[in-house]
């Protein structure tokens, strides 16, 4: 059971209040029609699936309902960083840095 600090509510809350929302920093292509089927398929289906630090989105579903980014170690489950949507990752040491 994780404890996640919501950057908007500004306190650590229990995992029950949150929902996982997939890998972070996957931009929707500006012009999907310009992409090949393969490129579009990669946007749709391919994810980093990192072992170790992983940038992912969570939503504070039962709280303020805001989405935000979490840097979480998928082995230890330690949460290394929490930052708002739109903010660039603080470093790109992970498999899915921006």
């Amino acid at each position: 059971m994780l404890r996640i600090r919501c950057p908007y509510c500004e306190e650590a809350r229990s995992e029950e209040e949150f929902a996982y929302a997939g890998e972070a920093h996957i931009r929707r292509p500006e012009d999907p029609e310009a992409l090949s089927d393969r490129e579009w398929g990669e946007y749709l289906h391919f994810r980093t699936n990192a072992r170790g630090p992983h940038r992912e989105m969570w939503v504070h579903a039962a709280g303020c309902r805001r989405y935000f980014n979490v840097l979480r170690d998928t082995v230890s489950y330690e949460i290394l960083d929490v930052y708002p949507i739109g903010k660039a990752p603080s470093d790109d040491s992970t498999g899915n840095g921006a």
Binding site: R3, S14, P32, M57, R65, Y67
Partner: protein
């Protein structure tokens, strides 16, 4: 029955409070303060159970959580709890307990030699007819009985947040909790026993100059004086999860302080509470469990842990025998023998495996007149139903082999100690495997981050002063890590008079004259009857991983979870593999530490609380009308309203015809509703929906499909433009929350630059759908500020006004194909408006209808229900809904790109069609095939998604998905029924009724 083994004085029992109880239907007596186990031992009960596999007699071995044999079903009838350790059951008046039995117990005894380790794997690896065998095996599996009915007791959950959680209230845990409290931290202290104190409750020496029990009492009193300390006795910490989330199962006492366990008299509140603790720091002061020695027939009743004998003697004033042989590898067990003599009993000998024991313990034993046989070990116990003699033989000083002939010593109790095993289950649950220490002769915990620490014998401390000191230090440190105090202890650790220890000998399997495969059974895991020979066999057969050996032999698989047998098993395996213990390693420990009742897991989330019921504002009215219900998501929706004597089909037919011919009313409050406003609201909707929203006029509605990015249909519904920059979106009932999250996902993460806000108003509005040719007249009776005429209030218009005097929004939209007005009013006024509509409709025989009729009406029109006629793989084209897709919008829409993927353009995709089926209503979900009776595999052509009897058409109708279906109209397929019949089915257009839409255009 008398209690021959109870001492006339001493112990922490209350002799003024005798307690009558029954065990295996025999009436017995004990005292308040007894456990079931201590009371049984006081009666001289030797055999409490038969072993799981071999049916051998078994007695009480331990005094706490480690007990493998004395497992009972507690209580009777529905309140019975199976598989409880007798060592942990506080005695109470009227207690009824029975030995938990395996169904085939004893039957296997004579066959046992044919059931080696891995029997099942070998037997069934290539066996035919496993299904037949399985039935027999299932019937014989498991241990303990099943309660006769639903549990009459309640269980509850309680959440806690603390700075420091201390697990275990022995000397280390008490010292840790005390320091953390003094530093100002919020502390939770949990201990599985009824009283705090752990080993101190049987301690005889002084602590801090006073009797150990008064030091405990003083410490507990100070802890109780801290308002932010939560003290949980009878509370087992069962799991340590990520981020220091900890589950604690508390068995609750009743108001009188008597234990509230299964079968006990009535108590207020929950029988057990599952505490869900979120702790900043966890201090594991879980203690250590004495390790038994593995020798031949070591399972005979009368073979016990030395520390357990000590505990029964001092805490319960019970002597579980008369003449003891103590078999040890270390100093700690000596005091059991010395105090045994002090209790007026006889010690035949202390058999010490060490070649030349010396030191304070040895000298004290000699002073007490006890013979110490050094360099020897008990290699075998003898007796029929309990120990009658110990076979003792000399042991080589370093190798584990015998150096001389055995001799026999008469005794009825063999107390043994192979050293101590720190209780690391919780520490290991963090995922970090303990490391072997040759010096400690034990696995010791390994740090995993700095949020979990340990203290006392759990961390390898071997003396009381060390436990007190490491406990205090750990408590102060944990508090400081949560911002309380400087991490220094507040006082010197209390003084004790315990002498220093001399080194122990590492001994696990005691050698016998014969090898394990030929010797009498040498048990490693008493609960599941795993022997040293079984482990050696597994090694011989090529198993090298301790995890594999565990699974092959079932070592540690019982409820006991390796508390006694794990280290011995690992050591025997290491030796068989010719490697050291460190390289062999230990098995992984996972939650739960001890079995947790289903009741504790469920808490109050049972019965009506299992899943919340969402109710509309008109719920009471539906109830009054005797509606039958359908669960839609969490909502309760009326399915149909049967009149006297009506079956479901009769009622649904009547409701459908009322909607088509007169007027009917549906509670549509459950539809998801989302207010969307902002200067860019139309841009946002344009991107979310397949349909275009830029040109939608104020007061107009539009139907839209919502797609996932992969092009599949996610939701559908009507969205209305309420004002210039304001829209109201309708979603399906079941998808309301998912759609809201979807909108927020895109709004917040991809398009934060759009000026748009979404607010859920599902609960704000009560919605009544007035349906049928008479609906305009009915509404007109209660609404005078909206022009309801055909041209002023067109199909797909929305208007604001008052209905029955309540501010209302009325939509002229239709899910039935009839003239229809959906009246929305604030939910707290929903019931009064509903009542007014019913009253206004009385002269038209207004008919309430439910979800079943709603489904029939929409199916007659060929309208889809997302999630019923779609399954997450259908595109708009598949559903024949390209008319709802607007291409070439400025931004496009979510999922648009996927619509041109080659797979979505295949002509043999499943396509939405109608199905005509003679006079039988098809089963929904039934597969469709071309040839009814060809040789398998028969290619699947699709399936039935919706099927009903249509009252209007007087015949069944069905909708379904068929490969390339839209080009196959008129073709006949076959629908395979579960009873083996095949019905011919004709592919038809999905619109069965009023294809031109005349009915709603009036």
């Amino acid at each position: 029955m008398g209690t021959p083994r109870r001492l006339p004085s001493g112990g922490r029992i209350d002799r003024d409070r005798p307690i009558a109880f029954s065990f295996n239907r025999r009436e017995m007596r004990g005292f308040s303060g007894d456990t079931l186990a201590s009371a049984l031992l006081a009666h001289g009960v030797a055999t409490v159970a038969r072993s799981f596999k071999y049916g051998r007699p078994r007695g009480i071995v331990g005094h706490g959580v480690e007990e493998p044999n004395a497992i009972v079903d507690l209580g009777v009838g529905a309140a019975m709890t199976p598989n409880v350790r007798a060592t942990e059951i506080e005695l109470f008046a009227g207690l009824e307990a029975r030995t938990s039995r395996a169904p085939w117990q004893g039957a296997v005894g004579p066959l046992a030699r044919y059931l080696p380790a891995g029997f099942y794997y070998k037997m069934f690896l290539h066996a035919r007819g496993f299904r037949t065998w399985e039935r027999f095996l299932r019937a014989t599996a498991g241990l303990g009985g099943v309660p006769e009915g639903p549990d009459p007791d309640t269980y509850d959950h309680l959440n806690h947040h603390c700075d420091v959680l201390v697990v275990g209230a022995g000397p280390a845990g008490l010292a840790a909790a005390l320091e953390a409290c003094r530093a100002g931290a919020r502390v939770v202290l949990a201990d599985e026993q009824a009283e705090f104190g752990g080993s101190l409750l049987a301690e005889t020496g002084p602590v801090d100059g006073e009797h150990a029990s008064s030091w405990v009492a003083r410490t507990v009193a100070e802890l109780e004086s801290h308002p932010d300390a939560v003290l949980l006795a009878r509370s087992t910490v069962s799991g340590l999860y990520d981020h220091n989330f900890v589950t604690v199962v508390e068995r609750r006492p009743d108001a009188a302080g008597a234990p509230d366990v299964a079968g006990a008299p009535d108590v207020a509140g929950a029988r057990e509470r599952l505490h869900r603790v979120r702790a900043g720091q966890v201090v594991l002061a879980t203690g250590a469990i004495e390790r038994p020695l593995v020798f031949a027939n070591n399972d005979l009743p009368g073979v016990m842990l030395a520390s357990s004998v000590f505990t029964y003697l001092h805490r319960y004033a019970v002597v579980p025998g008369e003449r003891m042989v103590l078999c040890t590898t270390n100093d700690s067990a000596y005091r059991t023998a010395i105090d045994w003599v002090g209790a007026g009993r006889e010690v035949a000998a202390i058999v010490d495996a060490r070649p030349e024991p010396s030191g304070a313990a040895m000298q004290a034993a000699t002073r007490a007149g006890i013979e110490v046989i050094h360099g020897h070990a008990v290699i075998e116990a003898r007796g029929r139903k309990r120990v009658r003699e110990a076979v003792v033989a000399p042991l080589h000083g370093e190798d584990d082999r015998l150096t001389g002939p055995p001799r026999r010593i008469g005794c009825d109790l063999i107390a043994c100690s192979g050293g101590w095993t720190p209780t690391l289950h919780l520490a290991a649950q963090t995922g970090v495997k303990p490391r072997w220490s040759d010096e400690a002769i034990a696995f010791l915990p390994v740090p995993a981050g700095d949020a979990v620490t340990w203290a006392g014998s759990a961390g390898g401390a071997r003396s009381l002063p060390a436990c007190l000191q490491t406990g205090a230090a750990a408590g102060a440190m944990a508090a400081s890590r949560t911002g309380h105090g400087e991490g220094r202890v507040s006082a010197e650790p209390p003084e004790t008079d315990e002498p220093p220890e001399t080194p122990s000998r590492a001994l696990f399997l005691v050698p016998h004259q014969r090898p394990p495969s030929r010797a009498p059974k040498q048990f490693v895991d008493l609960q599941l009857d795993v022997t040293a020979a079984d482990i050696e066999l597994a090694a011989r057969e090529g198993y090298e991983s301790v995890e594999h050996v565990k699974r092959y032999t079932a070592l540690g698989f019982g409820t006991e979870q390796g508390k006694l047998g794990n280290v011995n098993g690992v050591a025997i395996l290491a030796r068989a593999l010719g490697q050291d213990i460190a390289a062999t390693g230990t098995t992984m420990f996972r939650p739960s530490y001890t079995p947790v009742t289903f009741g504790a897991v469920a808490g109050r989330d049972v019965g009506g609380f299992f899943d919340p019921e969402r109710r509309t504002p008109m719920h009471g009215w539906h109830e009054e009308q005797g509606a039958e219900w359908e669960d839609v998501g969490r909502w309760k929706r009326p399915r149909y309203y049967p009149k006297a004597g009506e079956g479901m089909q009769d009622a649904v037919n009547r409701e459908c015809l009322a909607a088509r011919d007169g007027v009917a009313i549906l509670d549509a409050s459950t539809l998801g509703k989302i207010d969307i406003q902002g200067a860019d609201a139309h841009v946002f909707l344009d991107r979310i929906y397949t349909t275009g929203f830029r040109r939608l006029g104020v007061g107009r509605c539009r139907y839209g499909l919502m797609l996932h990015e992969d092009g599949t249909i996610f939701d559908d519904g009507v969205t209305a433009r309420i004002a210039g920059h304001r829209y109201l979106m309708h979603t399906t009932t079941g998808n309301a929350e998912a759609v809201f999250d979807w909108l927020e996902l895109w709004r917040q993460t991809e398009w934060p630059d759009l000026d748009v806000y979404c607010t859920s108003v599902t609960d704000h509005w009560a919605t009544a759908a007035l349906v049928g040719p008479k609906s305009r007249e009915v509404l007109g009776r209660v609404c005078d500020d909206i022009d309801l005429s055909r041209d002023a209030f067109r199909f797909m218009d929305v208007r604001e006004g008052h209905v029955a005097g309540v501010p209302a929004r009325v939509f002229r939209i239709s899910f039935s194909g009839e003239l229809s007005f959906e009246v929305n009013v604030p939910a707290h006024r929903g019931r009064e408006v509903w009542d007014a509509l019913i009253e206004a409709g009385a002269e038209f025989d207004i008919t309430p209808y439910g979800t079943e009729a709603m489904h029939v009406l929409r199916a007659e029109k060929g309208f889809i229900i997302v999630g019923q006629d779609t399954d997450g793989s259908m595109t708009p084209a598949d559903m024949g809904m390209d008319w709802a897709v607007r291409r070439n919008k400025p931004f496009g829409f979510l999922g648009e790109r996927s619509l041109s993927l080659p797979d979505h353009l295949r002509e043999d995709r499943l396509q939405f069609v109608g199905l005509a089926s003679g006079d039988a209503v098809l089963p929904e979900g039934a597969p469709l095939v071309e040839v009814p009776d060809g040789a398998p595999p028969i290619p699947n052509q699709g399936f039935v998604s919706s099927a009903y009897h249509s009252a209007r058409l007087s015949r069944p109708i069905a909708l379904g998905l068929v490969r390339g279906g839209r080009t196959r109209l008129g073709e006949i397929l076959h629908c395979a029924l579960a009873d083996g019949r095949n019905l011919p089915v004709t592919i038809v257009d999905p619109v069965f009724y009023d294809p031109d839409g005349k009915a709603q255009d009036v």
